[in-house]
Symmetry: C2
Subunit: 234 residues, 2 copies
Amino acid sequence: MRVPEPYEPAEYPPFAVAVDLVVLTVRNDNLCLLVIERGAAPFEGHMALPGGFVGVDEDLLAAARRELHEETGVSVADVHLEQVATFGRPNRDPRMRVVSVAYLALAANLPEPRAGTDAAAAHWMPLPSSGGDAWAFDHAEIVDVALERARAKLEYTTLATEFCAPEFTIGELRRVYELVWGTKIDPRNFHRKVMKTRGFVEETGVSTSRGRGRPAQLYRAGQATSLHPPLVRS
Amino acid sequence: MRVPEPYEPAEYPPFAVAVDLVVLTVRNDNLCLLVIERGAAPFEGHMALPGGFVGVDEDLLAAARRELHEETGVSVADVHLEQVATFGRPNRDPRMRVVSVAYLALAANLPEPRAGTDAAAAHWMPLPSSGGDAWAFDHAEIVDVALERARAKLEYTTLATEFCAPEFTIGELRRVYELVWGTKIDPRNFHRKVMKTRGFVEETGVSTSRGRGRPAQLYRAGQATSLHPPLVRS
DNA sequence: TCAATAGTGTCTGTAAGACAGTATTGT
DNA sequence: ACAATACTGTCTTACAGACACTATTGA
């Protein structure tokens, strides 16, 4: 029941509430995940997600923003941040009962992370991961759920532009889809699809020459947030 | 940071963790939401979602199942239950800091609820709701998010069968879509779409005569869980 | 010159929306 | 008889996948 009279906080179980971050970025033509190498028990030497406890008067999203800033130094304005799911299995943390709200963060080309104040070492891990068994806590599951969320949202939203610089080519946008989905996409059909979806991208009028091949037009993210009809994985 | 040494629980903020349930069912050709009329302050007389605190050693999903059983008396096996999102704004509950994990529950034709042990009165509210301003806490927002989740999942999953009895007609399945989406659907095109989607429904061989019109074939839910291509709202 | 990428266009199969028409019931 | 619902089928249009072809660059 939800209606006991005046609450007596001490009567209620001592929960800690944390946020964990699945931070994705595209660097050097790779999809990368921010991981922390744990320097202390439990799970010393294992990989963990960045995260931390929510303050007494802190909103969940604010806590996620704060942790993201602390771990990456990035100004949070450029980063897409959304709640994914909450993980609260009783013994997921052997020390005490911790309920953790997982957030997904996406941004373009984030810099090398700065390590936290503790002994932890943060770095970018290219995906798909080689050895997926070295995760601390239930973080392997959190990563799975968050990645599947990201893959699904690329289908029916314009989220992929969050992985791109403010101005980007259609080829770069396509590369985001290929990296996140792990598939090859026909450049010609992709180009047609993006162009005919109103508000997905808008022209800048500028063209660029990056690397080989014919120079490409530069585009900005458009006003649309959802894709009708969606861009389906095959 | 996530790595302070041996935790000292007392050092961490006193959070309470709760689950809130958005329970939907189809009754008398209406989509209905289970609401509790609060009998005590705060928000006395306002509508609230069923829910309650998570036990010290209780999993989140287990807590949701327990509350569902307490409020409806339904055997939980027949009910679809999934996590939707977590709400943790610092002052969402004026009494203390409560972080609440919202769950969506769907089932066919649930019985009249039995009121809880407290003064609260539970009943089914037909949707779309008439006066949407009488909600306690942030429950109006929780309902919005959960309903949108349900609407979206009808598009690309076979979730609609959860609203149906074990055996149902295509017309009844279509009615679920119409009630949840609040739209009219062409019966002929819907019939064709359901039939050509492998694993959505399977024949029973039996036909029935409910109400007026030509008797309809009865179907069971099939093995499929996702719909390719999706059934889109227009 | 060649490889690589950008961009346009064409063909084909699938599927959705609109809707005509038949079948089988209750009233 | 008539209204209501179930079910089948047809026509048209939209769009995705496959792929030919041209354009423009760096090596």
